[in-house]
């Protein structure tokens, strides 16, 4: 019931168009210092509560676009807005974001607890409060009891869970995820995808997710942004209007297969389009 109410809320929010987007990409583009055209000017709004996935062939600029959303990359022209303001005012209540990288990027010398606590330590959160939040975050990803282990003692899937716990510990409103499960086996990936959806629904997060996998994109997203390469640009935006909740049964449904086929066709078109735009040649 709860998820139904929530998904309806999402739809309502999206219907009320003038609400401030979580991220507003305004004609942002990226040309790298070596002259490589990473991204043509892009306009994109990440709406509150949506699960937006970026997908496309390599070199399509999806990681560049996500990088600009994390503010680790600066657009060479155009503008990025977070909750209608600059990046400086993020991190405050209601405007906090976390990043999950492609690798788990854990500190090998620190215990799981210390790794998850890092964002709180950097923000100088008192130890007692921080430890309590770490405990909750680890419980949420199913790693309670692993506090004192070191990263090397965990499997790849578990390390990724730690990384997700670390991103949740600051109670973010927005999660930016760059191919987080790309290096995992399919079984583990499916499991983590399902868990991620539970988290998303439970916490009312907004998520921007980069992936190579069509199945993952269809399973997770409310909207999929299909991108084309050379130069990187948005080729098409597809609404995934499959009903919630999505579970293992959804993976086997004809609806899922149809959506995958549609997305696959769009991706093929995007690939064929790649490199054909005028002035798009590599320097």
């Amino acid at each position: 019931m709860a998820h139904l109410a929530l998904s309806r809320k999402v739809e309502n929010d999206m219907a009320l168009a003038p609400e401030t987007p979580v991220i507003d990409v305004r004609s942002a583009e990226k040309t790298f210092p070596n002259g490589f055209r990473g991204l043509e000017p892009v306009d994109l709004r990440v709406e509150p509560g949506e699960f937006l996935t970026l997908i496309g062939p390599s070199g399509c600029g999806k990681s560049t676009l996500l990088g600009m959303m994390t503010n680790l990359l600066k657009p060479s022209a155009g503008e990025m807005r977070w909750w209608g303001g600059s990046f400086d005012q993020t991190g405050t209540a209601g405007k906090s974001l976390s990043i999950v990288f492609q690798d788990a990027t854990l500190m090998p010398w620190a215990t799981i607890q210390a790794n998850v606590r890092l964002p709180l330590d950097l923000a100088r959160t008192p130890r007692g409060e921080a430890d309590e939040r770490v405990r909750q975050a680890l419980e949420k990803v199913g790693l309670a009891g692993f506090e004192d282990r070191l990263p090397r003692q965990l499997s790849g899937g578990m390390r990724m869970r730690v990384s997700i716990a670390r991103s949740l510990v600051t109670e973010p409103n927005l999660l930016l995820m760059d191919e987080p499960f790309g290096a995992l086996d399919e079984f583990t990936r499916n499991k983590l995808d399902s868990d991620l959806l539970d988290l998303w629904r439970e916490k009312g997060l907004s998520i921007v997710f980069v992936t190579h996998s069509i199945y993952e994109a269809v399973f997770l997203s409310t909207r999929v942004v299909v991108m084309a390469a050379r130069p990187g640009r948005i080729s098409k935006i597809i609404d995934i209007d499959a009903p919630w909740p999505r579970d293992e049964a959804f993976r086997g449904s004809p609806r899922f297969a149809a959506l995958c086929a549609e997305l696959s066709r769009e991706l093929r078109e995007a690939s064929e389009m790649s490199g054909t735009m005028a002035g798009g040649a590599r320097p």
């Binding site: 994390t70 503010n71 680790l72 991190g91 976390s98 990043i99 990288f101 492609q102 690798d103 990027t105 500190m107 090998p108 010398w109 620190a110 890092l118 964002p119 330590d121 950097l122 923000a123 070191l150 990263p151 090397r152």
Partner: protein
């Protein structure tokens, strides 16, 4: 099963080299005895042992002198080297300007500089320590500098995304990342400090205040007391091995639980 294998491994690591050493000593003893090699040309291991026992007090006194010079020089090298590495890490400009001079320090043979230092510095002990410290300095500088720079770029981004301050990044990220390189530097540098101390003693020679192990070797050479030369030499070697072992143990204690270089000691890779 795993612990049994690990135990076997660590036993082998200790017993293997000892067995090889014993065999070599026996072969040496037998060859010298069969061929009746004169003691003043090449003494038997038993001759060396006899000389060692007979000269034990003076050898131990000499050992303490060499050891003190080595340790003092090593401490100076570690403190100064680490400080220089930190300065290099803070500013690319300083590093670019000064690193070539660190290399000059490294490539100039200590034998060539030490006479100068011994003439310039009145206190011989101080001069010896300086020579040894100069030799031991470079591995600390270069390894620690490399270590402070060798940070996982993903973790750098994570720290940046969490708006970490420069100091936070240094203490929580750069220093822990540099530790494996730092300890590798310590291991090399401790051996070099000993070499530097002995070489400088040789250069200072009998003219100096003369009381270290190198002085013992020189004296024994003048008196054609070859077994004593070997005894002093063996003692220097033992000091070197002990230093290496202590540094390895220190490294294992500090980073053994997480760094790949210690995977073998943990019993799995």
């Amino acid at each position: 099963m795993k612990t049994a294998t690990a135990n076997f491994d660590s036993t082998l690591r200790l017993a293997g080299p000892i067995a090889v050493g014993v065999i070599l000593l026996v072969v040496w003893q037998v060859l010298c005895t069969i061929n009746e090699v004169p003691i003043y040309l090449f003494p038997k291991p038993t001759d060396i042992w006899t000389s060692f026992a007979a000269n034990l007090p003076s050898l131990l006194r000499a050992l303490s002198v060499t050891l003190m010079v080595t340790l003092q020089a090593f401490v100076v090298a570690v403190v100064v080297g680490t400080a220089i590495a930190f300065v290099f890490n803070q500013s690319r400009l300083i590093e670019a300007c000064l690193f070539p001079y660190a290399i000059i320090l490294q490539v100039t043979p200590i034998v060539a500089i030490s006479p100068l230092i011994i003439i310039l510095v009145k206190d011989t002990r101080l001069a010896l320590t300086m020579c040894a410290a100069i030799v031991a300095l470079f591995p600390i500088i270069s390894n620690t500098t490399l270590g402070l720079r060798s940070v996982d770029p993903g973790l750098v981004n994570l720290f940046r995304a969490n708006k970490a301050s420069r100091l936070q990044t240094l203490v929580r990220l750069r220093i822990p990342s540099a530790l494996p390189y730092f300890f590798a530097g310590l291991r090399i540098s401790s051996g070099l400090a000993l070499i530097g101390a002995v070489v400088a003693e040789f250069v200072a020679g009998t003219g100096g205040m003369g009381s270290g192990l190198a002085y013992e070797i020189l004296q024994a050479g003048f008196q054609l007391d070859i077994p004593l030369m070997f005894a002093a030499l063996a003692l220097i070697t033992l000091v070197g091995i002990a230093l290496f072992a202590v540094m390895s143990a220190l490294s294992n204690w500090a980073i053994g639980s997480w760094h790949e270089s210690h995977a073998e000691e943990r019993g799995h890779g």
